[in-house]
Every structure is written in structure tokens, then in C-alpha cells.
């Protein structure tokens, strides 16, 4: 067996197959994606690039390898539909008849107030559409809401799964492989308070008792108070506060990092990942 070149060539082809499959093909399929108008019901472009301060914060996130402990991808196991009654119309009796099919306790008298009201939860699309149609026939109005399911969703980590489109403008893309800490794909929606994040970075256990996160004191400056205390200084509980006469002020890196965290919200309804849970008001990117 003296086939040096043969072994080399065959190994070359076997290995290059994976290069074609996992380097070249993904580049052809999704490597040239563009910003697109595939948001459900609007003509807005998605995604938008992160604002400047958040963009700088991404560099802080990268430099400190936050992705070693935090993932930025959530999954869903399925999708269910809620039917929400928005207007009861005038024919309460007819509507109550319709609603009795899904809720035996529904009465005509109970329909007068408390709208919008979820009349049925977690059904399939077909069942929901049928019910909505029946409600419409009874002279009332109903909406169908898409709700993603799965442990990540139940934990409140997102309203839909993350998709390739969400990361179009990120460099580097830091999806993370471990959940030593919670997922951050939607941390901007979940925890919109910049001051909470600053406190959490300086003294994690001051914000979340029993947290295992290391503290990031190097992102803050301990300053002697001369004159009036700085308005940017952290408000800390006694056990985490510095010595009397000193204050903790976030360095620019800390502000940038928090701006980046607040810019993380992969919760725009897309045709490839629809959802219609009420979208929380988006926090502004600046962390001042």
C-alpha cells in the first residue's frame, strides 16, 4: 500500500465535502441576506442596526467573553392560539350561545364589561378561526393571538424563537453555547431598567440574591465625593456600598454594555416566526 497521493486526494475530497456543506452553502443561502420587510402587518425594515452606544457595548460584551455563560438564542416547541373577545356587539344572547361551546359558564349578563377578554386559550389555529367566525356571526368582534410555547417562553425569555434574521447586523454573532446564566436574547424587553443593570453588573447579589455571576467592578470607578454627589452614582444597599465619602460611578464601558443589553430584543413578529403577544414598549438605547 504505497498510495500517498491517493490517501491525500481521498482525504482531501472527504474533508472538503464538509467545507462545501457547512462553509460555502450557508454563505450562499443566508450569507447575503438583506434587511427585509418581512414584519407581520407593517412595512418596516427588519432588522435595524444597533444604535452607536449599544454597538460599542457589543465590543465590551465581546472583549469580556460574556457569551461564555450567556446564550442569545431561544427556542419554542410549538405555537398555540388564544381567542380574545374585543367587542361584544349587541346580541348578547347569541354571543353567549357561541361562547358556551368553549366555556360552559358564559352567560349573556357576564359579557357586558371587562373587554378585551380572552375567551379561549391554547387551541389550534383551525379551532380558533372557527370560533372567531362564529363570534363574528353573532355580531361581536374577536381577535386571534399567536402564542409561542416551550420552556424558554414559559420562563419569559422571549415571545418567539430567535431566527437567523435577528443577527444580521451583529459582528461578532455571539449565540453562546452554555446557560450558566440566563439567556439574553430578549433581556432588553424583560429588564428594561438601565439602573438595574448597572447595579447588577457592579454587585450582582445586590440585584439578584444568590446570583452566581461574577461582579464586574472594573467597569466602575470608586470616586471620592467632592462637593455634590454625582447624579450618575449607583444607589446601593448598605452592604454593597463603598466607604463613607465615596461613590461608585459607571465608566463609559459600563454604560455601553448596558446600552447593548437593552438593545437585545428579538421580538418583532416575522412571517418566519410569527407571534402576537403584546409587544412591550421598547426601551431607549441610551443608558443614561
Amino acid at each position: 500500500m504505497n498510495y500517498g497521493p491517493f490517501v491525500f486526494l481521498a482525504a482531501f475530497f472527504a474533508l472538503s465535502a464538509s467545507w462545501f456543506g457547512l462553509v460555502l452553502t450557508p454563505q450562499i443561502q443566508i450569507g447575503r441576506s438583506q434587511q427585509a420587510t418581512n414584519i407581520v402587518n407593517t412595512a418596516e425594515m427588519y432588522p435595524q442596526a444597533r444604535p452607536g452606544l449599544a454597538h460599542q457595548g457589543q465590543e465590551v460584551y465581546r472583549a469580556n467573553n460574556c457569551a461564555a455563560c450567556h446564550s442569545q438564542q431561544v427556542g419554542q416547541t410549538g405555537i398555540v392560539v388564544d381567542v380574545v373577545l374585543t367587542e361584544a356587539g349587541t346580541n348578547f344572547n347569541a354571543l353567549a350561545e357561541v361562547l358556551k361551546k368553549v366555556d360552559a359558564t358564559a352567560t349573556a349578563a357576564g359579557l357586558a364589561g371587562g373587554l378585551p377578554k380572552t375567551v379561549v386559550k391554547g387551541v389550534t389555529m383551525d379551532t380558533a378561526e372557527e370560533l372567531a367566525k362564529a363570534i363574528k356571526t353573532a355580531g361581536a368582534k374577536a381577535e386571534t393571538h399567536l402564542v409561542s410555547t416551550g420552556p424558554d417562553m414559559a420562563r419569559g425569555w422571549g415571545a418567539r424563537r430567535t431566527v437567523a434574521q435577528d443577527f444580521l447586523y451583529d459582528y461578532p454573532v455571539m449565540l453562546g453555547a452554555r446557560r450558566v446564566g440566563p439567556d439574553l436574547a430578549n433581556v432588553g424587553t424583560r429588564l428594561p431598567d438601565a439602573n438595574w443593570h448597572l447595579t447588577h453588573l457592579y454587585a450582582p447579589r445586590a440585584a439578584v440574591s444568590g446570583s452566581a455571576m461574577p461582579s464586574y467592578r472594573f467597569l466602575f470607578e470608586t470616586r471620592k465625593i467632592s462637593g455634590a454627589p454625582s447624579p450618575a452614582a449607583l444607589q446601593l444597599a448598605k452592604e454593597f456600598a463603598p466607604a463613607d465619602g465615596f461613590e461608585i460611578v459607571p465608566k463609559p464601558e459600563a454604560r455601553q454594555l448596558v446600552a447593548y443589553l437593552l438593545s437585545l430584543h428579538a421580538d418583532t413578529p416575522l412571517y418566519e416566526a410569527p407571534m402576537s403577544a403584546p409587544v412591550a414598549p421598547k426601551p431607549t438605547a441610551s443608558a443614561k
Binding site: N2, A14, L15, V23, P26, R155, P172
Partner: protein, 483 residues
């Protein structure tokens, strides 16, 4: 057949074992010496990172000692400083020894090794200073990566020339594995660096390439070099031939065909065919594993008759066992029922550690314990410490991998129920403590290894320098007398 197919140009003259070993002395000492150094560095950083789980406020005023940076530095020091460097050295020696040819251009290879170490040094410093690129296993900044690439080319090219000059023409299984490894590393490394750092691709395509690189480095490259070492040393240490060459060839093809497609997690936000095809390929890697198991079992099965020093054999036997366990863990974790549980947990870390340390590093230790006395002509100063190293490393890696694997499954079950997230972190703590103990044992073993290696180098220096010094002074004296 040999004699007829051998022309004078393509065939180096057969060299004696002593000559072959002596020709590799300088590059191998440089490679193995630095590998031992990086092992200590990675242990130290790994230990600091591990401590952060028990004392999260530790060193929190120092940016370069933050968990993410130290963790990445430990991983770089281990993978590039130790694993690849030791692998290149052992591979070079196997090539020279199987082909019965002298190492080609040992000085140049030693220079390449120095360049490699400069690259690793700059990479580790760069990561600690915050210059990480943000991609796993590719964290080193650009200036470091360029040096690593050039160095890998220098070492690789002259290893291949050494192979080309062989006087023993038929290729052995170990040589196929090494040929593939030698050209595959520069390819995957340059592809990944070009497309991720130099002119980055867009969006999640970056993650696909980073995963592809990590799998091809950790599964394909380490397995190619590790199995080349196993297939070389197992028959040699037991004084009998490998059970089956066709089976080894089969393991080789299926390994590079399937393992090179693995590595994309099922959860990834990608078009579904990518995680799917990757999961299928990962499950199929059970084929090369079974082929290796059969071959090893059949070779050993006929009664082990170890004659020489048993320590290298122990290391290599442990390596094979860890290979089988870690690859089976990888296969199981790719199954659609299991992957949602193990994904994002410490189970994957346990698997990676068992592969890179339990399998690869242990195999390399065995090979180095065998090779260095032959190359230098000097025995290890303390054979007992080599045995202690074996036990520390073996117990250590079991104490690291077993708790992380078990804890990882518990963590995964918690992550898959709507439980509060903090529960999954709390469930992990006792297991993380156990694994820190394992890391300490491993670090102690590294210290013994490094001391033993230093002792050997000092002995070598004495043996080589003292006579030279004596002759030089003797000449001086005679010269002095004359004048």
C-alpha cells in the same frame, strides 16, 4: 516490491534508529518543553476561572482576570499551547520513525515551533487584554493568528517532506491519519480566520463557520492525531501487529467523512437542514468509534505481553477508553430526544473535556513519556513521578467529567421544565465543586510532568555540555601550557 518501487530521488537512505531519534531531538524538545509550559499556564487560568463559581467577587477589580477572559485564555493555552503543539511533535516523530527517515530540516522545524509559541503567547496576552475575537477556539487576535498559521505551515510542510523521504515505502495506518491532519489544520484555520475575522461573513453564517471549525479541530484533528498515536504505540508496546489494517482504513474514512460535518447544535437559529444534517453526521460517527473499538479489542484481546516500562501504555489505554466514552456521549447528545436536554448545559463541557483531555492529552502524555528518553538518550529522572502523574490525571479527569456530565443532565432537565432559572444554577453548584477538585488533581499532575521534563533537560544539558566544556577547557589548558 519496496526495492523495485524505490527510486533514488524519492527514497531517502535508510537511517538507523539512533540517527532518526537524534535528528528529531531539537524540534521535539522545543515542542514538548513548551507544551508542558502551556499546560501549567492553562491549569493556572482554568483554576482561577473555576474559583469564580465559588467566590464570584474574587479579582473583580481586574479586567483581565474576569471569568470570560481567563476561561478563554485557559482554553487557548490548552488547545494551541499544549494539544496541537504536542500533537505536531508526536506526529513528526511517528512519521520519521515509521518511515525510517531522518527528520528533515530539524532547525527549521524548531524555528517553526518557536514561532508557534510566540503566536500562542501573543494570543493569550491579547485575550487577557480584551482583544478576543468572540469566537470559540478562535479567540486569539489577528496578530497572533498570523504567526500560528505560518508556524503550522512550516512544521507541517517539513513533516510532509520527512514523510516523503521515507525509506520504508508502504504507508501505515498512523501515516494516513497524520497526512490528513497535517493538511486539514491549516485549511480549517485559514478558512475560519479569513471568513470570521479578516473579511467577516454576515450574520449567523459566522456561527456556522465557528461551529464547523470547532468540530473539525476538536473532533477531527484531535482524533486523527490521537488515533494515529494509538495505532502506532499499541502494537509497538505490545510487540504484535495491529489486528486489521482495512478496519483502520475504514475507521479513517468514516471518521473524516462524518465527524467533519458535526458540531451544529439543534437549537441554532438557522435553516433547519443545517442542524439536521449535522445531527445525522454526529450520530453516524458511532461507526468509526465501533471500528476503533473492534480493532483495539482484537489487538489487545490476544493477551497483553507488555515488556517495557508500562506507564506510556497505561496513558494510551486510558486515552482509548476516554475516546470511546466521549464520542458515545457526543452521539447520544445529538439524538433528537436528548439534544434539547443536554444543549446549553455542562454535559457538553464534560464531553469536550473528556475528548480533549481524557483522550487526546492522555495519549500525548503516554507518547511523550515514551519518545523523549529515546530522542535524548536519557532516562526520565523520576519514573515514580510519571506513575503518579498517570493516577492524578486519570482520577482528575474522571472527577472533572463525571460530575459535570451528571450535573449537566440535571441542569438540562431543570432548563426544560418551567422551573425558575436560578434552580438550574443552584443544582449545578455541588457538581462544579467536585470538578474543581478534579482540576486541582490534574494541575498537580501537570506540575509533576513539567518537573520531570525539566529534570530530563537538565540531565541532557549536563551530559552534552559538561564533556564539551571539559574538552574545551582541556584544549585551552594545553594551549596555555604551550604558550
Amino acid at each position: 516490491m519496496n526495492a523495485t518501487s524505490c527510486t533514488t530521488t524519492s527514497c531517502g537512505e535508510s537511517a538507523s534508529t539512533g540517527e532518526i531519534d537524534a535528528s528529531g531531538r531539537l524540534p521535539l524538545l522545543v515542542l514538548f518543553g513548551h507544551a508542558a509550559f502551556w499546560l501549567l499556564v492553562s491549569s493556572a487560568f482554568g483554576f482561577i476561572a473555576s474559583l469564580k463559581f465559588h467566590a464570584p467577587n474574587l479579582l473583580s477589580d481586574c479586567a483581565s482576570m474576569t471569568y470570560g477572559r481567563v476561561h478563554a485564555a485557559a482554553s487557548l493555552a490548552f488547545t494551541y499551547g499544549f494539544a496541537i503543539q504536542a500533537g505536531l511533535g508526536v506526529g513528526l516523530w511517528i512519521i520519521a520513525s515509521l518511515g525510517r527517515s531522518r527528520v528533515s530540516q530539524p532547525l527549521l522545524i524548531a524555528f517553526g515551533a518557536k514561532l508557534w509559541n510566540l503566536g500562542v503567547l501573543l494570543g493569550v496576552i491579547g485575550v487577557l487584554a480584551g482583544g478576543s475575537t468572540g469566537f470559540d477556539y478562535l479567540e486569539m487576535p489577528r496578530y497572533s493568528a498570523v504567526l500560528l498559521f505560518i508556524a503550522s505551515l512550516i512544521i507541517g510542510v517539513w513533516s510532509v517532506i520527512t514523510l516523503h523521504n521515507r525509506s520504508e515505502r508502504p504507508l501505515q495506518p498512523s501515516q494516513w491519519f497524520l497526512i490528513a491532519a497535517l493538511f486539514w489544520f491549516p485549511w480549517i484555520f485559514s478558512t475560519a480566520r479569513l471568513l470570521l475575522v479578516v473579511c467577516p461573513v454576515r450574520g449567523v453564517t459566522q456561527s456556522v463557520i465557528a461551529w464547523w471549525y470547532a468540530a473539525n479541530l476538536n473532533l477531527v484533528w484531535l482524533a486523527l492525531v490521537g488515533l494515529a498515536t494509538t495505532f502506532y504505540f499499541m502494537p509497538r508496546l505490545m510487540n504484535k501487529p495491529l489486528h486489521s489494517r482495512p478496519l483502520a482504513l475504514f475507521a479513517f474514512w468514516t471518521l473524516i467523512l462524518f465527524a467533519s460535518w458535526s458540531g451544529i447544535p439543534s437549537s441554532a437559529p438557522l435553516p433547519a437542514w443545517m442542524p439536521a444534517i449535522s445531527a445525522i453526521a454526529t450520530v453516524l460517527t458511532i461507526i468509526p468509534v465501533l471500528a476503533v473499538v473492534m480493532n483495539v479489542f482484537q489487538t489487545c484481546g490476544r493477551g497483553c505481553s507488555q515488556t517495557e516500562n508500562p506507564t506510556p501504555g497505561k496513558f494510551i489505554a486510558f486515552g482509548v477508553m476516554a475516546f470511546v466514552v466521549s464520542w458515545l456521549m457526543n452521539v447520544v447528545a445529538a439524538l433528537p430526544m436528548v439534544s434539547p436536554i443536554t444543549n446549553f448545559t455542562w454535559f457538553t463541557v464534560a464531553q469536550a473535556q473528556l475528548n480533549s483531555y481524557g483522550f487526546f492529552a492522555m495519549t500525548m502524555f503516554g507518547a511523550i513519556y515514551y519518545i523523549l528518553p529515546r530522542v535524548t538518550g536519557i532516562e526520565w529522572p523520576c519514573p515514580k513521578s510519571a506513575r503518579a502523574h498517570y493516577w492524578l490525571a486519570a482520577l482528575g479527569i474522571i472527577l472533572v467529567a463525571a460530575p459535570l456530565a451528571i450535573g449537566g443532565v440535571l441542569q438540562g432537565l431543570k432548563l426544560n421544565s418551567p422551573a425558575v432559572f436560578a434552580d438550574s444554577t443552584k443544582a449545578m453548584l455541588p457538581f462544579l465543586r467536585a470538578s474543581t477538585t478534579g482540576e486541582l488533581l490534574i494541575a498537580l499532575g501537570h506540575l509533576l510532568f513539567a518537573l520531570n521534563l525539566t529534570g530530563l533537560v537538565i540531565r541532557l544539558a549536563k551530559a552534552k555540555c559538561l564533556p564539551a566544556f571539559a574538552t574545551a577547557t582541556a584544549q585551552l589548558k594545553t594551549a596555555g601550557v604551550k604558550s
